[in-house]
Symmetry: C2
Subunit: 134 residues, 2 copies
């Protein structure tokens, strides 16, 4: 089912500072900032040869990323996103396996316009998992 | 400098259970268990098409992974490892940029027999970074 890592998301308290750090200190290639108003976040991708890091910052105080940063003021790794071929088949497989899908259990349109599901970190070794249909 | 994600390490409270979950619930391909006695850990890799997840479990109570699991009993994402071509050039660049390298600042032989450096999560948005020479 899980095929590739699409991205690893890191919530950051200062997006411009994080972009600068990944570009200069770590010598990475970073995309322009993308505003995802509907999802309450702004982000930039660190583009690596085999995957990408999503630097995530909230647009408003009621965003889940704002709440995450309240608990983790320095920032922190927020989730890992894996690609799947068929999100409905993934959902059915996960339900058969007894995994709990976040929200009402149906795929949503994620920040990149693809169908996504989230799995609770408590059920997956403290790691919030996003599955994205490719 | 940073080229590829080599792996993302997740500390897990029960390695067999985590392997079973990644194989069955998530439909991933998992390697046999590798014991790294010198580094105080046992691990297994979830092998994805573009990178891998390292499921990490301590071999003894004084391992840093044991301490991490005391704070995070469900487990959690422990670090991200990036590949670099030249670890000494990376070290010099990081020092010029004012980044603090963990330990005495010199590369060590990591769990996979390659030279590695670690960067403190406080300085990198709450994310422990490993650089591995490839």
């Amino acid at each position: 089912m899980i095929k590739k890592i699409n991205h690893i998301a890191i919530a950051v308290p200062d997006l411009q500072a994080a972009i600068h750090q990944y570009e200069t200190t770590l010598g990475g290639k970073v995309s322009p900032i993308i505003e995802e108003g509907e999802h309450g976040v702004m982000l930039a991708f660190v583009e690596l040869d085999n995957s990408k890091i999503e630097l995530l910052h909230p647009l408003s105080d009621d965003s889940p990323i704002a709440k995450f940063l309240e608990k983790n003021p320095h920032g922190g790794i927020h989730h890992i996103c894996y690609e799947v071929n068929d999100i409905m088949a993934a959902k059915e497989h996960l339900e058969r396996e007894g995994a709990k899908i976040l929200g009402d259990g149906t795929p949503k349109i994620g920040a990149h316009g693809k169908r996504v599901l989230f799995l609770h970190p408590k059920d997956f070794n403290g790691c919030l998992i996003e599955l994205e249909e490719i």
